[in-house]
Symmetry: C2
Subunit: 164 residues, 2 copies
């Protein structure tokens, strides 16, 4: 890409319409599904999607995670996580403990209540997702997984190239 634009005779406007259409379609799919999941979470459990996502991360780490880990995994800003955690501690779903060896670090865990509620939600959530993707064959799914992995790698390469 960078080589191209330097090698090329000035700048013939190329056709990038297909990539753009692909991106818009990808975005539409995600927005659609996200909205559906958000709605069902609110309706069934009166919980927001960000809270569910945060609890999902913690459920995978029984010994807890730091705020930084959470922020990296969830791909959101640090300050965002600070606020989310605060509200979830307030509601009794989370537990925070300062590290013994590094007083900057906080370990966050699900409380017993938090874990129990999350597990209940997660079970239903999984069936929603299965239904939402229900018209795709196993082969479709495999193929999508492969192509999205490639997409992710491509996007990461592009992002990295910009921020050296």
């Amino acid at each position: 890409m960078m080589l191209d634009s330097e090698t090329k005779a000035v700048e013939l406007p190329e056709d990038h319409g297909t990539e753009l259409r692909l991106w818009l379609r990808l975005l539409t799919c995600t927005t659609l599904i996200e909205g559906e999941v958000r709605s069902r979470l609110r309706e069934r459990f009166d919980v927001t999607l960000p809270r569910f996502d945060l609890m999902a991360q913690l459920d995978k780490a029984p010994d807890g995670m730091t705020l930084s880990d959470l922020s990296k995994r969830m791909m959101v800003s640090n300050g965002n996580v600070t606020g989310l955690v605060e509200r979830l501690v307030e509601s009794g779903h989370l537990d925070r403990r300062t590290s013994d060896t590094d007083r900057r670090v906080q370990f966050i865990r699900l409380t017993k209540l938090g874990r129990a509620e999350f597990r209940k939600m997660a079970a239903e959530h999984e069936t929603w997702i299965a239904d939402i993707f229900g018209d795709l064959s196993h082969k479709d799914i495999r193929e999508l997984m492969r192509l999205l992995a490639k997409t992710k790698a491509s996007a990461q390469r592009s992002a990295k190239a910009r921020t050296p």
Copy 2:
């Protein structure tokens, strides 16, 4: 799905892990790309992604659109669009005019300034997207388009089934 769960002998917990993993991967891709685009828009043009998206919709409708149309196309709430439009009118990018035949309706258009700025941004934006998807072959793109179309249809079917 509905038939299944009624026909089936109570509820054997099925394996829906692959669908869930697919959803998470889809979400990761979108979040990654969205973040990258957001960053570049801010850096290059000091504009937010929602404003860019809104202007993109309007650019396709030279005669203007109503707030409801915008909200449907962008898949966000009505109130959200009200605020976005307000700020963009304020900054001179948008123009609002009440319909002659229905005094509830407002037609929103890009101003000359708005259109000029958007076109400049859109041209660069398209090259970013092309680069972000740059590692995908034409065949990959065609295949992804097809599978995402199927995904979208499946998600819409699922959403519709829930809200009759």
